[in-house]
């Protein structure tokens, strides 16, 4: 089962954190900090896997991927397979976020916080991978977006604002 999904930037600021078993806020913060501590000390060109038992307790592994200014991290136990989790990150980022926001960047994730959560809820539910067809995920998200667009008159955030965050 998947224990947590985290997105943080290269300075260690959390951009998204979803823990599938409840943890108090302080604990979440601590975990995020420790994960970042490990991530930023990883050299280039090494594997995307980390043994995370010292951080998340027994039977936990961690897979991360680095996109531009963001780390995507998935924490899970031995019932999942590392390569699959790596692909799950790919699926989330390249097949879904990339389609939602052309050229996805850190800013998109910050501003569309609730949307990212919606997407994640479509992919992972209760710690299990529920849906891996990007078309399905997109369709579900679109449906909600349409509804939202219908109720909201304005929905504009200038893309130019991304320049300062994505450096």
């Amino acid at each position: 089962m998947i224990k947590a999904v985290m997105v943080m930037n290269t300075q260690g600021k959390p951009r998204l954190a979803k823990f599938f078993d409840f943890l108090p806020v302080e604990k979440q913060q601590e975990l995020i900090r420790r994960v970042f501590g490990v991530l930023c000390s990883r050299p280039e060109n090494v594997s995307n896997f980390i043994e995370a038992e010292s951080i998340f307790g027994p039977d936990s592994r961690l897979v991360y991927n680095h996109f531009a200014t963001l780390y995507f991290v998935v924490v899970f136990d031995s019932s999942e397979n590392e390569l699959v989790m790596l692909d799950l990150i790919q699926l989330l980022v390249q097949q879904t976020l990339e389609r939602c926001f052309k050229n996805v960047c850190e800013l998109d994730i910050v501003f569309n916080y609730s949307k990212i959560h919606t997407i994640l809820d479509e992919i992972i539910l209760g710690g299990q991978v529920l849906e891996t067809r990007s078309t399905e995920i997109m369709r579900a998200v679109e449906e909600i977006s349409k509804l939202e667009a219908a109720t909201n008159a304005i929905s504009f955030i200038p893309k130019s604002a991304s320049s300062w965050l994505s450096r």
């Binding site: 800013l107 809820d121 399905e136």
Partner: protein, 955 residues
């Protein structure tokens, strides 16, 4: 412009994020966030906020909480939003509550109703939102409230809803299997769902169910295989393709399930061979997901009943992984190799170089994985290299968690495969030196035990050499600063026990070092306690050898300090040391025989050694002992007895007040009697008879109750230890520990723990062998206690044999030089009749026991009155049976483990002359005996670690 995707955020939020992003320091960020919290607090409680605004506030709250700040003031608003009619607002509410609240939060009660309503909604998006919340927020208590609705949704026309309903049900199962156990068959039904997505979702709960109970799902093997076949043959729609692979996520889940179902089941496995082989062939190894499927195939192949062809394919894939440039694939390759070598160990050989490369790799994860593989591959031929590498790595890292893991693995491997004693000691020293405070204390005890018992059972010279090597290395290591506490304990114990044994080092050398230790680590009481006891042993050995004892000045000052210590344990040890030094050689040799830490201790359960004493007492007019069955007339005693008995048979009710509603007087008498038996050494002098009477029966009765308790262990704890029976129950429950303590010779010398061992063993002797076996298998072997550490660790067995083999030739060459060692018993002694040895050893115990039960003066008189010569044959006769029985048992264990009988009995033999001496010598000073008992109690384990010992002693 997809950036917004319709998820509206305001300028304010933009500004907030921007300013946080631009914050230069954590403090600045905190200030901004606190400011924001103030704003939100004010705004959120204003009346008539437009929904859209409210929604944004909540999102901002979520964001703030993600940054680590408390947003609990807004939880209630999030809960309110879930009640809203507008889907968008409701969704935001649900999102916020799933992130804010845990399933036991007080506010959940306000949401359950809404969830119930929403699950029945016509709008499937509302239902989906509610199901998301169900997965996160419903706990065991609230499951029944939503379960009917969720069950209905399993048949919902929308597949997205069915999928989520399955996940919700799965979640219920995870949280409380019992509340949905009658519904698990629904997962099977959903496996046949028309929609492959729903089928795929069903695999998650099925995987978990099968992992818990394989046998109930064997019938599904065929179905799973055919599903997997269809998936692999691209029968699913294109939408399921991912990187040109047909539904790889489903394939992987199915392979995982098959691995479980085929494990150890030839018939089931045979059904799988074809499809797994097909996947091996078809899989595209250029994509990440393709490799994921291949890896899962290897896992499956290594789990199911082996098939040579599939193993070959698996080996091919592994070599491809290992040769790859990608670290990820190398990692998977190493992991897969670790799985496969269990079935075909030879496969590792071909990949030696690749494995070594991975070991040198800068990637820490890969390195650790490789160490894990090496750990699995370790044999006696490669143990030196592997453990050496592991220790080097252990030293190089800072992560305590992983350090601990490696240290315990090193210890395990070293114990299991050690090629030589020297190497073993050195390895352990390195481990302790660098990770001493991280390893389990048991490891230290085990090391002491190994040094005490030696490896080669036939070969005393080898043992002596081992000990000498240990002593030498420890004296050297003591020079290093900042040693871990556990390691120091081992060092102190070994120095105390064997420091002067071979005459290589003088007592003043060793005591000097020990004093240094106690001084350098003066705030570690355990180390100080070990050092003090070690000092006592050294001095005791000196005195016993009739050498002049000069206490070093630093030692004297240390003792002075300890005599006034705040720690009663240390104080006690210091007093004991003082007392021992004041005794003469005979007494000391009796208290502290050298190298007797592995001695077997036999028990006289009938206390027949008291026969003479009883006779004498009866002649003087004492009441004879009346067995329990005949005692109904004597109310006061029977009350006491019943109570005792009752305690033993049913732990719930220990007072028979309802059956015998006698006046309080009666219950009081036993109380006092109990007290007199309890606080042993000081019974009221006016009632010598009564105390005698109660003392005597209390022993067998204790034993009897203990016998029952053997099987009822665990129950007694419930009721705590209130009155007097704990004496037995504690000794019983701790018996293993203490005996281990003895065999490990932890703390003080071990012969000196006889009394306590006596106590703890007494109940067990009574028990028949079958029961012993049962107890052994149930509770880790009370009958095996002597050897349980050895058998517990695969270590001793294997290693002893290995070591023995490797050492026999060497030591036979060295016999000549070794013979000179004074402490060693001449080998002939070992061949003395075993029973004699044992029973003489026995003779030692009864006194210890006596002095615990009777007034000290009586002890003296008993010792006096009973001429040793006349008694010993008695005992032998009486003990022939039990002793032999025990011996057989022990021998069997020992033989299987370490030794041949002669070594086992050796300590007993060693003790013999000393015992005869002391008993023929006449009355022992009462003080010394009392002290001695205490020494034993304390010496074995430092008080902080085993308070039960004191319970035994003090009641």
């Amino acid at each position: 412009m997809g950036s917004q995707g319709g998820f509206y955020q305001s300028k304010e939020f933009l500004d907030l994020v921007k300013s946080i992003g631009e914050a230069r320091s954590k403090a600045e960020e905190d200030r901004i966030v606190l400011n924001e919290i103030e704003t939100l607090k004010r705004r959120i409680s204003e009346p008539d906020i437009p929904k859209r605004k409210m929604k944004e506030y909540i999102i901002r709250l979520v964001y703030i909480e993600m940054l680590g700040h408390d947003a609990s003031f807004g939880y209630i608003h999030a809960v309110k939003m879930t009640h809203d009619d507008s889907l968008l607002v409701k969704r935001t509410g649900y999102l916020a509550v799933t992130l804010f609240l845990n399933e036991d939060h007080d506010l959940i009660i306000l949401i359950v109703n809404t969830i119930q309503k929403d699950l029945k909604s016509d709008n499937y998006l509302v239902v989906c939102a509610a199901l998301n919340a169900v997965c996160k927020l419903i706990n065991e208590e609230t499951i029944p409230a939503v379960l009917p609705q969720v069950m209905e949704l399993l048949a919902h026309p929308k597949e997205a809803v069915r999928k989520k309903a399955i996940m919700a049900l799965h979640r219920f199962y995870q949280k409380s299997p019992s509340s949905v156990s009658h519904l698990v068959s629904n997962f099977r039904k959903r496996l046949c769902d028309n929609d492959p997505g729903v089928m795929g979702a069903t695999l998650c709960p099925l995987f978990e169910l099968i992992a818990r109970d394989v046998n109930s799902y064997k019938d599904l093997v065929i179905s799973f295989v055919s599903i997997l076949k269809q998936v692999a043959e691209r029968r699913l729609s294109k939408a399921y393709d991912y990187h040109q692979m047909p539904a790889p996520f489903i394939q992987i889940k199915l392979l995982k399930i098959l691995a479980l179902l085929g494990s150890g089941d030839k018939q089931a496995s045979e059904n799988m061979y074809t499809v797994v082989g097909d996947i091996f062939r078809k899989c595209d190894s250029s994509s990440n997901i393709g490799n994921a499927v291949l890896y899962e195939c290897i896992c499956c192949v290594s789990s199911i009943y082996p098939n040579p062809k599939l193993l070959e394919s698996a080996a091919d894939v592994i070599s491809r992984f290992l040769k790859s440039d990608s670290h990820n694939l190398k990692y998977m390759g190493i992991d897969a190799l670790g799985r496969l070598i269990k079935i075909s160990p030879e496969i590792a050989e071909q990949h030696q170089l690749a494995v070594i490369d991975c070991l040198e790799d800068p990637d820490d994860t890969l390195k650790r994985k490789t160490f894990e593989l090496l750990y699995k591959m370790t044999k006696s031929t490669n143990v030196e290299v592997i453990v050496d590498r592991m220790i080097d790595y252990m030293i190089s890292i800072n992560d305590n968690h992983y350090k601990t893991e490696i240290a315990s693995r090193c210890v395990e491997l070293a114990e299991q495969f050690a090629p030589s004693n020297q190497w073993f000691i050195q390895t352990m020293n390195r481990v302790f030196e660098h990770a001493g405070d991280l390893v389990n204390i048991k490891v230290a005890h085990n090391l002491m035990r190994l040094i005490a018992e030696g490896f080669g059972e036939d070969d005393d010279n080898a043992d002596t050499k081992l000990r000498l090597a240990a002593v030498e290395s420890y004296l050297r290591i003591l020079g290093e600063p900042k040693l871990p506490s556990v390691f120091l304990q081992v060092i102190c114990w070994v120095l105390g026990e064997y420091g002067t044994a071979d005459g290589m080092f003088s007592a003043s050398d060793i005591t000097g070092k020990l004093c240094d230790v106690a001084e350098a680590y003066s705030n570690d009481e355990t180390v100080k306690a070990y050092a003090t006891t070690a000092l006592m042993k050294i001095y005791a050995f000196e005195i016993a050898a009739r050498r002049k004892v000069d206490m070093l000045p630093e030692c004297q000052s240390l003792m002075e300090e300890l005599l006034a210590s705040h720690s009663t344990d240390l104080q006690q040890r210091a007093y004991e040391l003082q007392a021992v030094i004041g005794l003469d050689a005979h007494a000391v040799a009796c208290i502290m025989p050298s190298d007797a830490s592995c001695e077997d201790i036999e028990v006289d359960r009938d206390l027949s050694f008291l026969n003479d004493y009883i006779q004498e007492a009866i002649e003087k007019g004492a009441q004879p002992y009346i067995p329990e069955s005949e005692r109904s007339g004597m109310l006061n005693i029977s009350n006491f007895r019943n109570q005792d008995h009752h305690e033993a048979s049913s732990h719930g009710l220990r007072f028979e007040a309802y059956e015998l509603p006698k006046p309080a007087v009666q219950s009081r008498i036993p109380q006092t009697l109990i007290a007199s038996t309890e606080i042993v050494p000081v019974p009221e002098p006016m009632y010598p008879r009564e105390s005698y009477q109660t003392t005597m029966p209390s022993i067998p009765s204790d034993a009897g109750s203990a016998e029952l308790k053997l099987r009822l262990e665990g129950v007694q704890k419930k009721w705590g230890r209130s009155t007097y029976t704990p004496a037995t129950s504690t000794s019983n429950s701790t018996s293993q520990k203490t005996v281990n303590g003895t065999s490990q010779g932890d703390g003080a010398s071990t012969v000196s723990s006889m009394r306590e061992t006596y106590d703890s063993r007494k109940p067990q002797v009574e028990v028949s062998h079958e029961k012993q076996k049962l107890a052994a298998s149930l509770f880790g072997g009370s009958s095996k206690t002597e050897k349980s550490p050895a058998t517990g660790h695969k270590a001793a067995k294997a290693s002893s044999h290995v070591v023995e083999k490797s050492h026999v030739p060497k030591s036979s060459l060295e016999v000549a030089s070794e013979k000179a060692t004074p402490a060693q018993q001449p080998p002939d002694l070992l061949d003395l009749g075993e029973p004699t040895a044992t029973s003489t050893a026995l003779q030692l115990d009864p006194f210890k026991q006596l002095e615990g039960l009777l007034d000290a003066t009586e002890v003296a008189s008993a010792v006096n009155g009973a001429p040793a010569a006349s008694r010993s044959p008695d005992i032998m006769a009486l003990y022939a049976d039990t002793a032999a029985g025990i011996h057989n048992k022990n021998d069997a264990d020992l033989l299987s483990g370490l030794s041949n009988p002669s070594v086992t009995n050796m300590p007993g033999t060693t003790a013999m002359p000393q015992v005869t001496q002391s008993s023929s010598k006449g009355p022992n000073p009462k003080d010394s005996l009392e002290k001695d008992a205490l020494v034993r109690q304390m010496g074995v384990n430092p008080s902080s670690q085993n308070p039960n010992l004191f319970k035994d002693l003090l009641g």
